[in-house]
């Protein structure tokens, strides 16, 4: 019996909250950040204490705060997932054209998105599985993918049926081309490099060989000295 990694009963991966904490730890103080709908929203609960990280929501707000108490829900104050949020001191409201100008104009430092697939050249597919009977809906995903200075993906490495979400080439319809720079998964963190995916960090008992087997990709390792130099 080995130690469990937080949030699951497996030793080779971490749970969603632990992953959200791991992503949050990499966001620099002072960054303007958009968190995508779903799992990336959890990152808001783990932003490092003492930092001022300003959350953008594409429906027209900077300085978004946590969810309100039930009696304090304000239907005029929601996030992009249409959930109730709060405003922090210093918050600002603006209309939709300004909000997307913040992305397209390169003012947003980082967005963190979910994914169906990420290719080794940084292509992202996260809006449609291409199923013929599906009703298409894209929202702001394509604008975020092309607009933010950095696009991180937060996702499980494997789909529910066990297929790798990291792929040589996306088979689902694309959201953006060559836009993803880093992928945080429940088993490892990957950088997108000119040589393909490079493993930056592994979680628990997971090994490089296992990751190669699970993804079917020739993964390299990020040089630890290069990581140390970033900080």
């Amino acid at each position: 019996m080995t130690d469990r990694i937080d949030g699951t009963d497996r030793t080779d991966r971490i749970g969603r909250d632990a992953l959200a904490r791991r992503v949050a730890a990499d966001i620099p103080d002072g960054a303007y950040v958009n968190l995508g709908i779903g799992a990336p929203t959890l990152v808001a609960d783990h932003l490092p204490a003492g930092t001022e990280i300003i959350l953008h929501t594409e429906n027209g707000m900077l300085g978004m705060g946590p969810a309100p108490a039930p009696g304090e829900i304000d239907p005029d104050l929601i996030n992009a997932g249409k959930l109730a949020v709060t405003e922090l001191p210093g918050a600002a409201y603006f209309h939709h054209a300004d909000s997307f100008g913040m992305m397209r104009g390169g003012h947003l430092d980082l967005c963190i998105l979910g994914a169906f697939q990420v290719s080794q050249t940084g292509d992202l597919a996260n809006w449609s599985t291409g199923a013929p009977d599906a009703i298409p809906a894209v929202g702001g995903a394509m604008d975020l993918a092309m607009g933010a200075k950095e696009v991180y993906v937060m996702t499980d490495l494997l789909t529910k049926s066990g297929e790798s979400k990291l792929v040589a080439t996306c088979t689902y319809p694309l959201t953006g081309v060559g836009c993803v720079t880093r992928v945080y998964t429940d088993r490892a963190v990957f950088d997108v490099t000119p040589e393909g995916f490079a493993v930056r960090e592994v979680f628990g008992t997971t090994t490089l060989d296992e990751l190669r087997q699970l993804t079917g990709l020739a993964l390299t390792l990020v040089d630890q000295a290069a990581i140390d130099e970033e900080f």
Partner: protein
């Protein structure tokens, strides 16, 4: 003397013709002009083209307009949500045509229409299925798509307060598409909680200047406000929380 106020929502939507292109403000339920949509349903216009971020949720507002069969085409970014059953049914039965537009391109195409821009190049959606059929152009080493403005016959939007000149202020994230839609329609119709005397809105805080607005109608205060102050006690749809004491109600609250 300029007085853009009208007596009630039915008077506000008068003259919207069959086949009109109608912008509907709001992001989800926030900022959706429910009273104006209800009035539009009552006056009976049909064959409408709707421009809106979403395609309605639940059974009220835009969802009811679709359920009543008044919409033949919709231009939006995110029609599918957990409670979009009226849109889903109309779309699957082929009664409603959808033009799917990435949210930022939708906003900028509306803004361009209001600002007199002939067309513009956007990097969003390059390399995706939504780029098909669009002109591609490389500018300074980056690929862009040619995007055309979306003008409308009518815009229905929701603000917090307005004066008789049509100056409008909004509230929090219910602002969303209101200010840009107000600029892009031949006739812009705004519902507000209250019409206030000219000169009482802070000129520095006006978001939509009256030049963009044609008609203003007061529909009463939001249930979660009391004399303009937030009192809460509601769910996301503005319905009283189960077991909660009803918020104190001023005359005209809804």
């Amino acid at each position: 003397m300029i007085d853009k106020t009208v007596s009630d929502p039915i008077a506000a939507v008068a003259g919207i013709a069959d086949g009109a292109t109608v912008m509907v403000g709001g992001f989800g339920r926030a900022g959706q002009p429910i009273e104006l949509i209800d009035a539009l349903i009552e006056v009976g216009a049909s064959g409408l083209t709707i421009v809106s971020n979403n395609a309605g949720g639940g059974d009220a507002g835009l969802a009811r307009l679709i359920a009543e069969g008044r919409v033949s085409r919709i231009i939006c970014s995110f029609p599918r949500q957990t409670d979009s059953w009226h849109f889903d049914r109309a779309y699957r039965e082929g009664r409603l045509e959808l033009e799917l537009v990435p949210q930022g391109n939708l906003a900028e195409r509306i803004r361009a229409a209001g600002a007199g821009i002939g067309a513009f190049y956007s990097p969003t959606a390059v390399g995706t299925p939504l780029a098909e059929g669009k002109e591609h152009r490389e500018i300074n080493g980056r690929t862009y798509l040619l995007e055309h403005p979306i003008p409308a016959d009518v815009a229905l939007i929701s603000g917090l307060r307005a004066d008789r000149w049509g100056n409008v202020v909004y509230r929090k994230t219910s602002r969303n598409f209101g200010p840009i839609m107000a600029t892009a329609a031949r006739t812009t119709i705004v519902q507000v909680d209250e019409v206030v005397p000219l000169g009482t809105l802070d000129p520095e805080a006006i978001v939509t200047p009256g030049i963009f607005v044609d008609r203003v109608v007061a529909v009463g205060g939001r249930r979660w406000l009391h004399n303009g102050d937030f009192v809460g006690g509601v769910d996301l749809h503005g319905e009283p929380l189960a077991g909660a004491t009803a918020a104190p109600s001023a005359g005209g609250d809804r």
